[in-house]
Symmetry: C2
Subunit: 193 residues, 2 copies
DNA sequence: TAGTTTTTCGACCATTTTGTTAAAATATTC
DNA sequence: GAATATTTTAACAAAATGGTCGAAAAACTA
């Protein structure tokens, strides 16, 4: 029963490589099979279908992102600093996950696919995480009292806004500057003077 | 009659991007059409078929490589130096063309395809170019008298030998060291003491 | 403007690729 | 060696793809 999970993991890793290089559409089950040294049909013993493989890959990546965020922010006590670090890490890590979004984003036929659902779920989690930071800031009397739920959602939307241009231009320098700008505006309106 | 050629060039450029990213197989005519903002059928007005597009791209790339080689070596008078520069530039430029070779190399069904022919042609040209450098070295009395045709062919083969591992490991550092080594051996046998 | 040539494109076809399934075959465990 | 787990084979429907053809559109010419 342990073996099956490890093979699943192998498949996920192989699929991850292929999806990130070729996108969802251009990656075939045979590609994945070849890379795992298996027959194409064998994959269906571990996953119901191609979409399931893709979903597993995305979930895996998302968990990595979550872990990276937690790790990066966990030592920081100052909420402002933590927030800035959070956004920076999140943007930079996201740069590498963009492929997946891009891969399916361009298949806008059947809307509200499972990717949209996953994205929504992730956005919700993210808003919650950010809200916790904001709450901390308010509790420590470093942020002005505010509707943290609304503010968190706003921040998520702002990050999504930054995310999209990323697909077109991978200009990390420009991105960091934009983050800085947003953070500056944000803090000067947020921090108690 | 001028316009047609410029459109051809546009198509080639678009195809170049796609082929280098996805390889020959995974790049479809519709991909190329989409990137050129044209209907798929329109492409067949400029090229007989997909293979022709591919061939045009490769020829284009080869001419770029040739130009780069000429440009890089044209100012150098010392044959030994010129030879070293030639090999270095060739290897490093080739790194970016590898995709094409890789793309079709893995379709070893119908052998002696047009890619093999093109490659042979290129090898021949290359042997000639190298031979010219060697002749220069001999004429300048800096190289020992030798069968320059044979030596040139040997060098081409040596470079091809270096080329193949490149497909698997893009370790530029390792590559440069190997070039250095070969050049060292080559020169200590070649240079007059 | 009418006619001629060049260029684009949608509809269509033949073939190949691809995702998926079911059953047979093989390996592993007990 | 029965039972279970895993892989392979074969097959097939649906989708994708390379390519053709003719007609429409655009550009050009007179």
């Amino acid at each position: 029963m342990e073996k099956k999970e490890s093979v699943r993991q192998e498949i996920i890793e192989a699929a991850r490589q292929l999806f990130s290089r070729y996108g969802f559409r251009k990656t075939t089950m045979e590609d994945i099979a070849r890379l795992t040294h298996k027959g194409k049909s064998s994959l269906y013993y571990y996953f119901k279908n191609k979409e399931e493989v893709f979903r597993a890959v995305i979930i895996h990546e998302a968990s990595i992102l979550r872990k990276a965020l937690k790790e990066a922010t966990t030592g920081i006590s100052d909420p402002a600093e933590k927030l800035e670090k959070y956004m920076r890490v999140r943007m930079n890590t996201m740069k590498e996950l963009i492929n997946y979004y891009e891969a399916v984003e361009h298949e806008h036929d059947s809307h509200y696919s499972f990717v949209d659902q996953l994205r929504d779920q992730f956005d919700q989690d993210e808003a919650q995480a950010i809200r916790r930071i904001l709450d901390e800031g308010v509790a420590q009397d470093k942020f002005q009292p505010l509707d943290t739920e609304l503010a968190a959602n706003t921040l998520v939307i702002a990050m999504k806004g930054l995310e999209y241009p990323l697909v077109w231009k991978g200009s990390a320098q420009n991105l960091n500057k934009r983050i800085q700008k947003i953070m500056k505006i944000l803090f000067y309106g947020l921090l108690k003077r």
